[in-house]
Symmetry: C2
Subunit: 279 residues, 2 copies
């Protein structure tokens, strides 16, 4: 284990604030990592319903009250009093009228008291469980960014958010390991859970033209006998923002793909996350 | 309003038990109606996760304990002490190894103490809200069964349930009424919510070849200027059962499409259904 692996989620957030962190894959093992989407309050109900309707790609871990960048509900999600949603993610994307504008290191100059922030589970959260099972993700071995692809899986419409499709992350595994990979990631319902598809035939089903050319992140090398395994990805909400286009008033902010917000949720919180009211 | 419209959900269940009811569209207005899936307990966790991962097509309203056909959790879902899951739905489909076997009027001779029953929200639940808004569904006007179609929208895999696609129900509306139709049905998150697609172009996106030939129910007539509007449908779990095939040990039971179980949930319960733990 590197010293990095001993750092807490809080420490990673402080390092992110100082812009000393980029790719968060493998950081603060055992902690759930979050995608971000921050938008004007008038669109927050549509977006929250979008999460409810698409919990595999957009599993909601927590959200802020309007205009408050310091407190996430539920409070167990992020517990440090110095938390600031505008600085504690390594990098942020800025969208205007559904179009990507730029990537910035903090949102302090852009924030207004009308924004609502949503934290959405990230598949980095189950990567140490995969590693512990002898199934370490290739991008962690190679020190690259996970490969992500746009697909034709529909994101089911909610209000202004309609016509978007899912993004998936991809990790290569031997075909005979796929069922074990599914089992290991299945309990992580709140961070995308088990894969949505796998195998070389999945490329056609998902509408992925070229495995060598991911839409986000970096391409991954396949060893003999390996097949691509695809999980839903929390970059999907950014596709929904792009599909909504100029129906969105004002700027929207999101994390830069691969540059996640570390939460204080751990695998022990999974039982109560992504579950219904009764069980 | 016919006298039928004044009957309670409990009265409809008793009439269903006596096999005096077929199509339940329009019965006991204001009450949520449920699709059924009843399967051996060893598959219940996979199926429950399937519902969590696909809440638009498979919104879970309630479930039984193993082997108990009399009590649904949460208890507010069905409150009559004489309730029997094996008789109180008008008609049941029987599947063996994922293949449709027959339709029966009750499950008493087939039931064992190893079955778990799942109640899944039905779009009939929002039809009186549509009617109240002056948007009465065509099949209610014509006294036919709602038209249902298989699509290519993937049902996201859970354990043995993989490779299935969604079923949708269809109601014709004027193009200029679609946004209003979306608004009226949007709050019904627990009973499929707003449409998943609409317009004549949706046929190609959904993979529906012929609007005149629904896979379940009866074809609906279009008036000039009307377009098809599609909602996710609770027949979808039966597609998941068929896709699982012989991975399912034993018989599986479901409702006959259009022949729903009436619950005691009303529109007032929608706020707490289909929502996360925090809001």
């Amino acid at each position: 284990m590197s010293t990095q692996h001993k750092q807490t989620a809080h420490q990673i957030r402080l390092l992110s604030r100082k812009n000393h962190v980029t790719n968060t894959s493998g950081l603060a093992p055992g902690h759930l990592q979050a995608n971000l989407l921050i938008l004007p309050s008038k669109h927050s109900q549509d977006f929250q319903n979008l999460c409810h309707r698409n919990p595999v790609s957009c599993p909601l871990l927590g959200l802020t009250k309007i205009g408050n960048p310091h407190t996430i509900s539920p409070s167990t999600c992020i517990q440090s009093e110095d938390f600031d949603l505008r600085t504690d993610c390594p990098k942020y994307r800025v969208y205007k009228n559904g179009t990507y504008l730029e990537t910035v290191t903090d949102l302090l100059p852009l924030w207004t008291d009308d924004y609502v922030g949503f934290l959405i589970g990230c598949s980095f959260s189950f990567e140490d469980a995969l590693s512990a099972a002898g199934l370490k993700p290739r991008h962690q071995v190679s020190g690259t960014m996970v490969a992500m692809y746009k697909t034709r899986i529909p994101v089911l419409a909610s209000g202004i958010f309609k016509g978007a499709t899912c993004v998936v992350s991809m990790r290569p595994y031997r075909e005979q390991d796929v069922e074990r990979v599914r089992e290991v990631t299945r309990p992580y319902l709140a961070t995308h859970g088990e894969p949505v598809d796998w195998g070389w035939e999945a490329l056609q089903r998902l509408g992925i033209r070229d495995i060598e050319r991911p839409d986000f992140g970096e391409k991954q090398l396949f060893e003999e006998g390996e097949v691509p395994v695809f999980w839903a990805c929390g970059v999907t909400p950014q596709m929904a923002v792009m599909a909504a286009g100029d129906k969105i008033d004002g700027l929207v902010f999101a994390h830069e793909p691969g540059h996640m917000l570390l939460t204080d949720f751990t695998v022990k919180d999974l039982e109560m996350l992504g579950r219904p009211l009764y069980n």
